[in-house]
Symmetry: C2
Subunit: 226 residues, 2 copies
C-alpha cells in the first residue's frame, strides 16, 4: 500500500512532521516522498501547486486521492486503516475522548504563544527585542507549557499524553514540543515533560522522521528564558 | 443520552456553532446548555474555568467526560455515535478523504485573511483604515473564497462541500461563511457559494442554532468590498 502513496514535505515543519509520524505509526514506512526546500520556495513550485493550489506542505497522495491538510492526513490514515500498524485513536469512549481533546488542544500552544513569539524573535535581533514584550511571551508560555507538564505529571512514568498508549495526541503535540526545544526551551524546568520528551525522541516513528536540517546547526535561543 | 450532555456556548462564536451543528446533526437536540456572554467575560467565570482552565467556549460535557475543543467535540460525537442521527464522515474511502480534507482546509480561511482582517477592522474605524492594507486583505479573501466557490461550482446544484451529502466539511465551513456574510460579504459575487449558503441556512441543524444576537442588529461592513 505504501508504494501507492507520495508525500512532499519540508524539514522542521510541524504539520509535515505530524503526517510523517502518523505514516510511520500506521506502518507505511518506505512510502515514496520528496523533501522540498522552504527557503528556496520549492513548495511554491509547479509540482506542488498542481496538487495543492495553496502551495503548502505537506502535500500527500494515497493513490489518486489528494489530502493536504496534516490533520486530514492523520485522521484519514487512522480512519481508513484502523487495524494497520499502531491504533492512534483508542476504541474506549473515555480514552478516545481524551485523545481527541488533547490532540486538538495542541493548537493552543501555537496560538497561545508560539506563533507570535517565533515571528517576533525571528524578525527582531536579540539586542533589539522589547523586554516587556518578551516577558509577556514568557508568562503565556510558562502557563501553557505548565498545563502540559501537569497532564503528564498526573500520569505514571512511561505514560503518554492521553494515558497508557501512544495516540493522536502525541502525534499532534510532539513536533510542537520539539520546536520549543529547538528554540531554546530548557526542559529541566518541566521534569515530567522532559522525561516524556526524551522517551519519545527514541520512539522509532519519531527518531526516523527527525528534521534532517536540525543536525546541521543549532536553533534559536528565544525560548531559553521561559 | 442528550440529557447527560451539557454545553456552555457563546453567540456568534464559530467554534461553538460547529459543536452545536454537530450536536443537532447527531440527533442530540434538546441537550442541556447555557449561553454565556463574551462581552461580560462570563466565559472566564468559575463555572467554565473548573471544566476548561483556558476559559474558552465551547466547554462541553458528555456525562463525566469533558471535551472542550470544538474539533474534538465534533470528531468525538461522530466516532462515538456513528450510527446515531446523520453520519458526518462518509464510509467510502474517497468521500471520507474529501470530507476530511475540506473540513480541515477551512482553517485556511481564518489564517488566510479572516483573522487579520477582522482584528484590524474591529480595532480601526472605517475612516482611519489604511486603503492599501485593506486592498491586500481583499485580494487574499477573493482568492480564498474563490477556491470554495470553485469547489461548489464543480458540484451539482444541491450538493455539499464534499459531494452529495452533508459532512463534517459543511459543519466546519458554514459558520465561517456566515461570519463573512455578517461582516458584509456580498454573496452575489460568488453564485455557487450563494446558492449553497441560502440552502444550508434553512437546514434545521443550522437554522435552529443561528447566533441569537445576530437578530438584534446589523454586523460590520468590512468585507463588503471583497
Amino acid at each position: 500500500m505504501a508504494k501507492n502513496m507520495f508525500l512532499y514535505w519540508g524539514s522542521g515543519s510541524p504539520p509535515c512532521w505530524k503526517a510523517m509520524i502518523a505514516l510511520e505509526e500506521k506502518g507505511f514506512s518506505g512510502y515514496p516522498n520528496k523533501m522540498l526546500n522552504f527557503s528556496k520556495k520549492e513548495h511554491k513550485g509547479e509540482e506542488v501547486l498542481k496538487l495543492n493550489p495553496r502551495g503548502q506542505l505537506p502535500t500527500f497522495k494515497d493513490g489518486d486521492l489528494v489530502i493536504n491538510e496534516s490533520d486530514a492526513i492523520c485522521f484519514y490514515l487512522e480512519s481508513q486503516y484502523p487495524d494497520k500498524g499502531h491504533r492512534l485513536l483508542p476504541v474506549g469512549k473515555e480514552e478516545k475522548a481524551l485523545a481527541l481533546q488533547r490532540a486538538f488542544e495542541v493548537a493552543n500552544m501555537r496560538s497561545g504563544f508560539m506563533q507570535d513569539m517565533m515571528q517576533y524573535s525571528m524578525s527582531t535581533k536579540e539586542e533589539d527585542r522589547d523586554k516587556k514584550k518578551m516577558e509577556e511571551f514568557y508568562t503565556k508560555a510558562r502557563e501553557e507549557i505548565g498545563r502540559w507538564e501537569s497532564y503528564l505529571k498526573k500520569n505514571d512514568e512511561g505514560d503518554f499524553l492521553a494515558g497508557k498508549v501512544f495516540t493522536m495526541a502525541d502525534v499532534f503535540a510532539f513536533p510542537l514540543f520539539a520546536i520549543c526545544v529547538r528554540f531554546g526551551l530548557q526542559l529541566e524546568k518541566f521534569p515530567s515533560l522532559s522525561a516524556y520528551y526524551k522517551r519519545l525522541s527514541e520512539r522509532p516513528s519519531i527518531k526516523s522522521t527527525w528534521p534532517p536540517h536540525w543536525s546541521e546547526g543549532p536553533g534559536q535561543s528565544a525560548m531559553s528564558q521561559i
